[in-house]
Symmetry: C2
Subunit: 527 residues, 2 copies
């Protein structure tokens, strides 16, 4: 059926106005946009409102990654505004990462007008089918009257547990038709659970077995207070403590308890967990390697190791630990012994340790570090534990290209904090468009590109797949040289001031410049 | 179940070797790769073979778009090698475009080892669910023994009709386990159909009604020969001729019949089709606007217009037209009257007409033009019809960011032809990573960025959505300024030499430089 001309083409209040107002009433104050024709009525509604900040991204993966970063720091969801199925598809990789991190995101995706779908116009696609693969909740509003309620439900869904990915599909005719529906107040997020006494007791009994027991502390936010409880529990029981390979957000730095991670590399992880006979999972899952290989185990614990599932990531981790502490007779959380932080600036070649120590010496207090320094950064943790207090954000979904977008979201959430984004050159390339949004919004982000000019994580695996003498084809597929990427030029081309460093002295100078800058700054560290 | 150590970790011939050999035997000679850990055995197999060219992309949308462009020019599918669900997701927008264009593509997507899936490791995702949304055929190989046959089937599927998107999911353990299966020879593509005599007769009768009849000529490849038949049919019957709003590939230029398109803008299209009472669809679908709006019809023909479905895009369009010509008593295809091509270089401000005429004057013979010059380029067709003979490629899927990747594929398919990629600044940003692959492969591509610093197509729609005085928020969402993108810097940062032009004289100089260059060259045309 073709559109009839007997309705008002421009009602005073549209379905899109209702939708935006419902998001605002639900506490959404940021919309990361990359709209197209089918979202123009949502753009018009945002134009008429003044409660939501709108930030344009020039690629959808930047918008979705920024929503993830915003949630991690602000602990409330942002919205995205995406253009039909292909626009959503461009944002899917970072929605995958957000979902794995337990970040709440509300996606608003336009669709063709309902009566237009039958014609299979160029941009017609299975939006719901795409959305289901990376969302916890997907709903298409059938008409304008449904948009307000659907938007309120999306907000409610995004707030469940640690956070959920909720995707609302808004057909163009729903957004342009007359609105004015009442806005229902979003229900408060469901209370996060604390395990019952029996489960706490089982965990306590397990940890009392001492050194062969491991308390694995996960969740979407490893709070300094939670770690202090965990340290006290470890002191009382003799158990070991670890966080998973990756954590979405970890409060760390000088004056805070540092808990070692399960190492990323399989052999190291297996060695680190060799003595462990029982694991209490507190917001974490059983430790497995990110990938399986033919010649080693993908399960990182020893055969026969037992697991006590104390709490899931969605539960109240801090309250769980407090209850667990009580069960093992601990009265107060530990205060870590203050370390005499040396924070000396190292010099010379840019080794991973030297880079980490340089960062530690210079990191501003209360910074947010977004870590996507894939291979170079793998060992940074042990050298950065006594940096000024900071939050350290990692990629728990494994899809690279998350770093710069997440840094944008963190900077939008925390305008008074410095953001340091550590990225590999290979990983940063997936979402290089992020640089422009950093410049447009004048965000205080310092990006350090670890330019090793290779997919180093893959090169290291060549022997594992039986290639001891790689030929030119495999070398070509794993290297980023010929031509070398000029990150200083790329950054400036996107409006971001930049400089390069070849050694640790240069890195220190560049970091100081970045941390002092108003707005973004990029450092190409040539390895 | 964890992996047991009792199998050979490095068999001499793996499932991946079988898979690659089956693709090669099926005629695949190009693999566009962005691999990760789960695809390393495929990388190893490609390293051991020497029959397939491997081209690295630094973002998956570049790989899938290049496969589309390769198919359009080579008329045979290329393979892509993509990393799990998120890697596939990054390639989906251009697979959407490829599917809509009728391009054949064989995607190989790695997955976790089958025994690893149960652990829900970070990169675990619903690959098949993602793949189904943009593929005609999806199959996951259960084990190494199945890989060769699955790859052969993928090739067969990709060759059906005009071309199909076939996606093969290859679990890591299938790729690393022992192979050595026999390779079945792929069946030849099914013969493309020609309508039966009754249908031809119905179309002929319709066209004989003369000026109120339209022959709409679509298909994935608008051949010069097909247009010559169509022109003869029009001469004999008095019918009108048009091609759809967009065609995947159109052989045009001096000495070839030019058929006007259905205009993109709805009002213009409706005006252009106002007199049409019956349409013969030959490889085309009923004309509808790309988007629906509240205040105009999405159907571009008049109420009561009738349609004869002569042939679908999958049918043999040239043979259909030859049969139709016979039915209307035409003996030979038309030869267009040679035009006295002026090809004067215009001067002054870079108007759309001036840009088009400059291109017409300088376009090398037998060039391939990839058209993604969204708003600026909309009217280029009428001013470029008498350029040297060339192929003109358009985006029929509507997801922007297709231009530079498709240009890569066209250049790989046609190393002896010049490729001209016309792109908007907004559209080119989605896949700017393509520049690096152009440089790495030294492809003879000249890119012209129409830098109007806006999503101009959306700005033009503001009045349509009821915004006559746009506020700062909607302006911000639709402009690419503050900061302006420096495309010369961006290109050089990716290893591509570049220059800018502010007027038509400058554009001519830059185009001449680009067409004479060995390897890629980018022109930022500041509008």
């Amino acid at each position: 059926m073709a559109q009839t001309a007997d309705q008002d083409p421009h009602p005073v209040v549209t379905g899109a106005d209702d939708m935006i107002r419902a998001l605002e009433e639900g506490g959404i104050d940021l919309c990361l946009t990359n709209p197209g024709t089918s979202e123009m009525h949502a753009v018009a509604a945002l134009d008429r409102s003044d409660r939501m900040r709108c930030v344009l991204a020039l690629f959808e993966g930047v918008a979705t990654g920024a929503a993830d970063g915003y949630f991690r720091m602000a602990r409330r969801p942002a919205a995205t505004l995406l253009h039909l199925g292909p626009g959503f598809a461009n944002g899917m990789a970072n929605l995958h990462n957000a979902k794995k991190a337990g970040s709440g995101v509300v996606n608003v995706v336009g669709d063709h007008a309902s009566f237009h779908l039958a014609y299979n116009a160029p941009l017609t696609s299975d939006i719901a089918g795409m959305a289901r693969t990376v969302s916890h909740w997907v709903q298409a509003a059938p008409d304008a009257a449904a948009l307000a309620e659907a938007a309120t439900q999306a907000v409610e869904q995004a707030r469940i547990g640690t956070g959920r990915v909720a995707t609302l599909i808004a057909p163009a005719d729903a957004t342009w038709s007359a609105g004015g529906q009442p806005i229902r107040r979003a229900a408060p997020p469901p209370r996060r659970a604390v395990p019952d006494a029996a489960r706490i007791a089982a965990a306590a009994a397990t940890l009392r077995r001492g050194g062969t027991s491991l308390l694995l502390l996960g969740g979407s936010f490893v709070l300094a207070r939670a770690k202090a409880w965990a340290a006290a529990i470890a002191q009382a029981t003799g158990c070991a403590l670890r966080t998973p390979i990756s954590s979405p957000r970890n409060e760390r730095g000088a004056g805070r308890v540092e808990i070692p991670r399960v190492p990323y590399a399989g052999e190291e992880a297996i060695a680190a967990l060799r003595e462990v006979r029982q694991v209490v999972l507190c917001g974490a899952r059983r430790p497995v390697s990110n990938f399986a290989f033919p010649d080693r185990s993908n399960v990182l614990t020893q055969r026969g190791c037992t697991f006590v599932e104390l709490a899931e990531a969605d539960d109240d981790i801090e309250a769980t630990l407090a209850a667990l502490a009580d069960a093992v007779g601990v009265q107060a959380a530990s205060a870590p012994t203050p370390v005499a932080a040396t924070r000396m600036l190292p010099t010379g070649a840019p080794t991973p340790e030297g880079i980490a120590r340089t960062i530690t010496a210079l990191l501003p207090e209360n910074a947010v570090v977004v870590d996507e320094a894939v291979t170079t950064g793998r060992g940074f943790a042990r050298f950065t534990a006594d940096a000024q207090p900071h939050d350290w954000l990692q990629n728990v979904g494994g899809s690279i290209g998350y770093g710069m977008p997440v840094a944008i979201g963190a900077a939008l959430a925390c305008p008074d904090r410095r953001v340091l984004c550590l990225a590999g050159d290979g990983s940063a390339m997936y979402t290089e468009q992020a640089l422009w949004t950093m410049a447009r919004e004048a965000l205080d982000i310092t990006v350090v590109i670890m330019a090793n000019r290779a997919y180093q994580i893959l090169r290291a695996q060549l022997p594992r797949v039986g290639i001891r003498n790689p030929g030119q084809r495999s070398i070509d597929m794993l290297t980023l040289d010929r031509p070398a990427l000029d990150w200083v030029g790329i950054a400036r081309g996107h409006g971001v001031e930049a400089g390069h460093a070849d050694d640790l002295e240069g890195l220190a100078r560049q970091l100081q410049r970045g941390f002092a800058a108003s707005g973004p700054y990029l450092v190409e560290l040539r390895l």
